[in-house]
């Protein structure tokens, strides 16, 4: 099977670095099924130095839970795409971080389909970029006609550390049921100057202050990851990319 190369006209690839896609395998889908009543947790790190597209297709059956935590700190174009179908009473949790400098585009794309009644989803994505880098989050939530009492929440925040960096957020809702809760929020900002001065006035160097504030900023995305060792590992990778960055 040959796949058509996506273009910037495809909504889902609108902010992608299309030029970097040549030679990248786009059909490497990983299929995951979480059987009824089961729990599945996965931690992903994207840190490659070459363009990478990682695609997951997750089927969360009745009453099952799936949690995905991902840090996209690659030094070249990297995209994590997660497609989720939720059965009755199933739950999907996403904690995502995109972080880095250079001129790379780092993105997280989700499509969550609430197919069964009373299913829930919770997505928190934090994006920290500097230099000429770009962080994207495209999150689509679909609630099928059978998905009554679905409860979906999606929260994106972008932090731009220097002029020239950018972030794009595109929340999208498609709802066919009439008794649902769907919340989404997106905001993009800079480091709080008054917090930086407050830290400096207590003796904290600008670099250390920045690291503390960034750590606090991305903490929300990893808050639901209760495995301490995994939490440290993901946070460590995210913060490591800050070290030595010319900010």
């Amino acid at each position: 099977m040959t796949l058509d190369m996506p273009t910037q006209h495809d909504e889902e690839w609108r902010y992608a670095d299309i030029a970097s896609l040549a030679g990248v395998a786009l059909d490497n889908w990983t299929d995951i099924t979480v059987a009824a009543g089961e729990e599945h947790r996965q931690c992903l790190l994207l840190e490659a130095a070459a363009p990478e597209v990682l695609r997951l297709r997750v089927n969360v059956e009745q009453g099952a839970r799936c949690a995905i935590f991902a840090v996209n700190a690659a030094s070249d174009y990297a995209r994590l795409e997660v497609e989720v179908v939720l059965g009755q009473g199933a739950h999907f949790e996403l904690g995502g971080v995109t972080i880095g400098g250079g001129d790379a585009t780092r993105e997280i794309v989700t499509r969550v389909r609430h197919a069964g009644q009373g299913s829930t989803s919770h997505q928190v994505v934090r994006s920290v970029h500097w230099a000429q880098a770009t962080g994207n989050f495209l999150g689509r939530i679909e609630v099928a006609r059978e998905g009554q009492q679905a409860d979906a929440a999606q929260d994106f925040k972008g932090l731009l550390l220097t002029r020239g960096a950018s972030a794009n957020a595109r929340p999208e809702l498609e709802i066919f049921a009439d008794d649902v809760k769907c919340a989404h929020g997106a905001s993009i900002g800079q480091l709080d100057e008054s917090a930086r001065f407050y830290m400096a006035a207590r003796g904290i160097s600008p670099e250390a202050a920045k690291a503390l504030l960034v750590q606090a900023f991305i903490a929300d995305a990893l808050a639901a990851l209760d495995d301490e060792a995994e939490h440290e590992r993901l946070l460590g990778v995210a913060l490591a990319s800050l070290e030595g960055a010319a900010l």
Binding site: A201, R202, I204, A208
Partner: protein, 247 residues
């Protein structure tokens, strides 16, 4: 100890300090009083090195060191503590983490060994008890959800832990009820009333001076000190107002 000579400073090109001279010796407590817009907070921020506060003339030395040549975090390491009128909230960063980073940054800058987690907690517990601040408060995020009184009390705990040579306290008494005022006053006395330390209290009102008795009271008007006296000057101000006393 702190020598301010002919200090001129502007904020957004507007002159605020116009030739302020003040000598603060070790063991002394100075109160600076003045009407709104006299330049009280500007003096505090200029000494702290806040971005946007430009020194256009004059000099400031701390124990013989040129303070104005230092970055804000270096000023803190040199022994300057700036108490904020409005302490800044830093979501996601705990007081313990913040203060340990601050203290160890200062210690490293002075060539001293950083404290271990255990050593730091012991010190924090001791200082928190002195200010009657619950240790649980220190585990919470910096100033987030603190009442006005709790924020000022937390500032004093910070001062106790960082152990500065000179404290510039900018309206530390604002937003305090009588009980909190007493606690903060006692804290200033306990931490800073020592032969090797000095305090500059910036305040609108005389009431804090009932608890922290100043050696000198200065009236600041239009960016200069226009009158200096003993504690009786504060009482005179309280009774007759700035206009009458400064005339």
């Amino acid at each position: 100890m702190l020598q301010i000579d002919n200090l001129h400073a502007t904020v957004a090109d507007k002159p605020i300090l116009n030739g302020l001279t003040l000598q603060v010796n070790a063991g002394e407590v100075h109160a600076i009083m003045g009407p709104n817009g006299a330049g009280k907070s500007t003096l505090a921020y200029t000494l702290g090195g806040r971005p946007g506060y430009e020194v256009t003339d004059g000099s400031v030395t701390l124990n013989g060191q040129d303070l104005l040549a230092l970055d804000p975090h270096e000023r803190a390491a040199a022994g300057l503590f700036l108490g904020f009128q409005y302490p800044v909230e830093i979501p996601g960063v705990s007081n313990v983490q913040f203060l340990r980073e601050a203290l160890n940054s200062q210690r490293r800058a002075r060539g001293e060994a950083p404290l271990t987690g255990g050593e730091f907690l012991k010190l924090a517990r001791e200082k928190a008890a002195l200010l009657k601040l619950d240790m649980d408060m220190l585990k919470r995020q910096v100033n987030v959800g603190f009442s006005g009184g709790e924020k000022k009390r937390a500032e004093m705990v910070q001062m106790g832990i960082l152990d500065p040579a000179v404290a510039i306290l900018d309206e530390t008494d604002s937003g305090l009820d009588i009980d909190a005022l007493r606690v903060v006053g006692d804290g200033i006395n306990a931490i800073m009333r020592r032969p090797d330390k000095a305090v500059v209290l910036i305040t609108h009102y005389q009431r804090l001076l009932d608890y922290v008795r100043p050696d000198f009271v200065h009236i600041l008007s239009k960016g200069r000190i226009i009158k200096t006296g003993g504690p009786e000057l504060a009482l005179e101000l309280e009774e007759h107002g700035y206009e009458a006393v400064a005339a």
